[in-house]
């Protein structure tokens, strides 16, 4: 009979090590089935969490062969097919502290989440007597973000978090902030938004990992774009991230294409660029990669492009 070789990263509170198990292959099972088989039939000391088995409680996410999956709604066959192997390596989610084996610590994340005030700050539109009525459209605004089951998959895959655990907010925290910012009952969106901005909002790398792996298909990167837009509408335009985005936005309007030579200056300002980017600029010039004398010409059709900008403004208002 075909066997699956499973290596699991164990942690006993002091040391971690990999332990190997062999499980007879069965068709049509889930990842959670595999873990449960090991615990029930081979090793009762193996620790992992699960409860609902229906992608609701969010407790069963693990890393398999380098990527995060929700164990209960992930097909074993699909994983074997993805990695073209019968060897699976299980690890706890990345970017979390580990309690034991595959069990991770959530408390610090919940404390971090408090930064964005994850609760409704009631607006004056509602009252105890009349409640807070929402239109269907208003409700739909919060429908997708409230699907989050706090499984941690997005945080495990987040490339910014991997190098900046202290400073950056987990994608599910950004989702939570978004959820209150767009809630029609909330009267103080800036109170959720300001901490988002202050906690490295512009450091998101656009890597798309979070949105690609979220088991609830929450549009996390669209939300990040929305959060960034909102901070700029709030007036926070004088930071590297916003200035960088505006450099692209304005170059396309003016010429149609990006002026790479001016990009650092537009993003960082002349002084900062002179202080930090000179060696970079010199090596780029030496290789002919930037030519300070070359200014991009206007593209043919630039007037038409500007009409699209005008139209986008009309659409907004």
């Amino acid at each position: 009979m075909e066997k699956i070789t499973v290596k699991i990263k164990r942690f006993d509170g002091r040391e971690s090590y990999y332990q190997k198990y062999e499980v007879p292959y069965e068709k049509g099972k889930t990842i959670l089935w595999l873990l449960t088989m090991i615990r029930e039939e081979q090793d009762p000391t193996l620790n992992f969490t699960s409860a609902c088995r229906h992608a609701i409680c969010g407790s069963c996410a693990v890393q398999i062969n380098g990527n995060a999956f929700l164990a209960c709604n992930t097909s074993l066959d699909e994983v074997l097919d993805t990695y073209k192997t019968m060897n699976l390596t299980f690890e706890p989610l990345k970017n979390f502290d580990v309690i034991k084996d595959l069990v991770i610590v959530w408390e610090p994340k919940m404390e971090k989440m408090e930064k964005v005030k994850p609760w409704i700050i009631p607006s004056e539109k509602g009252s105890n007597e009349h409640g807070f009525l929402q239109s269907e459209e208003e409700f739909h605004q919060i429908a997708a973000p409230t699907d989050c089951i706090l499984c941690g998959v997005c945080a495990s895959e987040c490339n910014q978090l991997a190098v900046n655990q202290e400073g950056y907010l987990e994608p599910f925290i950004l989702n939570r902030a978004y959820r209150y910012i767009v809630d029609s009952r909330d009267g103080s969106p800036q109170d959720h938004l300001q901490p988002v901005l202050e906690n490295d909002l512009w450091k998101c790398l656009h890597c798309m990992q979070c949105v690609s792996q979220c088991p609830k298909s929450i549009p996390l990167t669209d939300q990040i774009a929305y959060l960034r837009s909102s901070t700029m509408q709030m007036g926070a335009v004088n930071n590297q991230g916003a200035k960088h985005a505006y450099a692209f936005h304005d170059d396309v309007k003016n010429k149609g294409r990006l002026n790479e030579t001016m990009l650092p200056i537009k993003t960082d300002g002349l002084v900062q660029t002179a202080l930090t980017k000179i060696p970079f600029a010199l090596r780029m010039i030496k290789k002919g990669k930037i030519n300070p004398l070359h200014m991009p010409k206007q593209i043919s059709g630039i007037h038409e492009v500007r009409r699209l900008y005008e139209y986008a403004e009309e659409v907004k208002s």
Partner: protein
């Protein structure tokens, strides 16, 4: 056989990554692929403009795609991951949402264009597998890259999000390996194969991105690679041009040459490194290539 594509070069090909323009055109000519550059294409927004205005981002890319539709070709080709993602994102949004498409077209009408949705957006890597065919590519190989150990660095935006890109499984893609092996090269396994280069936040997250760059160079180096190959000029720029800055944060030597996919293909087609403008890289790739490939 001649394949004809509308060609969207993207901004970097006009300046920092001009070598990718040069090598793409050389390789296309040898393979018999006709590239018709769009007249009046704009920047795709490079994953930044949607942070200011999502509708505008969709509109400018609808215009880019509409320019391709006017050429009467079936596919618009790029050689940049992020351009591909931006164009495909705009396309998918409009194709899924008739209202949005109509709204965008009201604007495009003022420019004399219309987005119809008849052109597919592809990347050279995909086109080689899907349209050109590996067997045909193999037939064109003059200098098999035997002994050259390449580290394939995909970059995020050619894979994710899968509902927009979806050419192959984003958790274990094989297209780069298939092409590299067809050229005779040996692919090394390394941890950072599907890592993020960090380019899109290199200004606001400079410190973090330099750490990532160091790790991204060190991982293939430790796996014995002669060079990294990437299908994205932004990954290339991040890993190559910023490598000296990244080095400062590392005690170990992280030196790793980084070449573009069309340059790798060009070498196997018998085109010289100079003609492929490999001498334009910050980290000199030519010695490592010379050591391994005869005829270079």
């Amino acid at each position: 056989m001649t394949l004809t594509y509308a060609f969207f070069p993207g901004c970097t090909l006009e300046s920092a990554a001009e070598e990718l323009m040069i090598s793409t055109k050389k390789v296309a000519a040898v393979l018999g692929i006709e590239l018709i550059e769009l007249d009046g294409w704009t920047c795709c927004g490079a994953s930044h403009i949607q942070d200011i205005d999502g509708f505008l981002s969709t509109s400018i890319n609808a215009r880019n795609i509409a320019l391709a539709e006017e050429l009467g070709v079936s596919k618009l080709i790029t050689v940049c991951n992020t351009c591909t993602l931006m164009l495909r994102t705009a396309k998918l949004k409009m194709d899924k949402n008739e209202n949005l498409k109509e709204k965008v077209n009201v604007g495009l009408e003022r420019t004399g264009l219309e987005y119809k949705g008849t052109v597919e957006v592809t990347h050279l890597l995909w086109a080689l597998l899907e349209d050109y065919g590996l067997e045909n590519l193999k037939k064109k190989v003059k200098v098999p890259l035997k002994g050259l150990k390449v580290a394939n660095f995909y970059g995020c935006h050619i894979l994710m999000p899968p509902d927009v890109m979806g050419f192959e499984n984003h958790r274990n893609p094989q297209s780069m390996e298939m092409v590299a092996e067809a050229l005779g090269a040996e692919c090394v396994e390394f941890d950072q194969r599907l890592a993020c280069c960090g380019f899109h936040a290199v200004f606001p997250a400079q410190k973090e991105v330099m750490t990532m760059t160091g790790i991204n160079c060190l991982s293939p180096k430790e796996a014995g690679a002669d060079c990294i190959v990437t299908p994205c000029p932004l990954c290339q720029m991040q890993l190559d041009a910023y490598q000296p800055d990244a080095q400062k944060g590392f005690d170990q030597d992280i030196t790793m040459p980084i070449i573009h996919l069309p340059q790798l293909i060009g070498l196997a087609l018998g085109i010289s490194p100079e003609e492929l403008a490999i001498d334009r890289h910050v980290v000199d790739a030519i010695p490592a290539l010379q050591r391994k490939i005869q005829a270079v």
